[in-house]
Symmetry: C2
Subunit: 250 residues, 2 copies
């Protein structure tokens, strides 16, 4: 909350008489790439089907216009909540898209965010036609990527607006971020109870390649357990016959 004090009467006058509309303005939206893991541990993104013009019937990432009394970060959090009913999810602003013709209605500057939703927190009943939202698995292709949902399937080229570029940029950033942040933990079903196997599957989904289990294990112990960021709290047989250590993020 930044409070500005006018320095003198003259400035007070200036601010009172300032006409905010002397120049034409663009609209601002917060658009949000909502990542999650599918039940089969594939990197997925939540899309909504546009019900109105323009790009009617096309798939798009959720987003909406910024209100004048909310920080742009709040706009993003609000949009996320409206789409997923989820609160307190980790979001990250990653790039602003401001090409002149990106929206045929008017000039729109889109501040793009990415969000990491825990696996299985989003449950869409497949085939539920009342919902115009769907989770799509991301499959990288030669040009762009393919989006595979339970009911629909499309190429990234068919997305509305410049959303192909926005999602592509988000994927690239995420692939980098996973190495030096703790984003991977945000995808866990339960940050307070998980196995190395679960975390490894998330890394593999994001990177799009398989990882050596032994090395991953060593790195995990060194980076998180030995530093005290993560604690061992028990064992589990959820994924294998042999009991696996269960960890908890502190």
């Amino acid at each position: 909350m930044r409070k500005y004090k006018a320095s003198c009467k003259e400035e007070e006058e200036f601010l009172k008489n300032y006409d905010p509309d002397r120049y034409e303005k663009a609209a601002n939206t917060a658009d949000i790439v909502i990542f999650t893991m599918s039940d089969k541990n594939e990197l997925s993104v939540l899309l909504i089907k546009r019900g109105g013009y323009p790009y009617k019937g096309h798939w798009a990432i959720p987003g909406g216009f910024m209100q004048m009394d909310e920080d742009i970060d709040i706009t993003a959090a609000r949009e996320l909540k409206e789409e997923t009913k989820l609160d307190g999810i980790h979001i990250e602003q990653f790039k602003t898209f401001g090409a002149v013709d990106r929206d045929p209605r008017m000039r729109v500057i889109s501040i793009a965010y990415m969000a990491f939703v825990p696996q299985s927190t989003l449950d869409f009943e497949a085939g539920d036609d009342a919902s115009d939202a769907e989770l799509f698995k991301i499959k990288m292709a030669d040009e762009g990527f393919d989006l595979i949902g339970d009911r629909d399937r499309l190429s990234s080229h068919e997305l509305a607006f410049d959303h192909e570029e926005i999602i592509s940029t988000a994927i690239e950033r995420l692939k980098n971020r996973i190495d030096y942040t703790m984003d991977a933990f945000e995808f866990l079903k339960d940050k307070k109870s998980f196995t190395i196997y679960e975390l490894k599957k998330i890394y593999e989904a994001v990177k799009g390649e398989s990882i050596d289990a032994s090395n991953f294990r060593r790195d995990f112990l060194r980076k998180y357990v030995k530093t005290g960021l993560v604690d061992e709290i028990g064992t589990s047989r959820q994924y294998s016959k042999r009991a696996a250590a269960v960890y908890k993020l502190l």
Copy 2:
């Protein structure tokens, strides 16, 4: 250049009748942190002194309102050119600042860029009072940083708007970027003729710490010369008695 074709008469009608002004809008600016190296190889930033309200008399980073017919990246490039007369400089969008109260005049969303200007390309005559722009060396302090110019000197807290936060964020990003990008080369007086010593000074200025010359040399040869990104083109005695190899970025 994205051309949108309406899918049908109905959509054509919709777009024709769309009222862009049905919601209140914020203004958009591109603000730009212009980094360069001082003559003594210190990381510096170009600031301008505000001549009007608000924050009259305070130092700020250059920036300006986006025009309706220019991409936001073009706005940034235009502002850079207006301030420095320089064209074709490397710029990078790094974050968008959208707090509600960041500008007392009205709601302003600032898309922030950083630019890397070659050493000594900017020449301000010290003491030239006709100019309200000045180059400030950045000295990190306990809280924020200090800005030391030839004529003026201030703490980052005294900057206009939220420009302390914008510059701080830019410095942090630059410190990271220098390790995995070739940003350092952008600061060179002449990318087509430089010595290892010159490049090392840039790294040291950005990181704020001294670097082992021998290791820097080995890394430079491995990363750039052996990969063919940089070629040896001769020798120079500019910085030392003994001749040093001169390199050229391809």
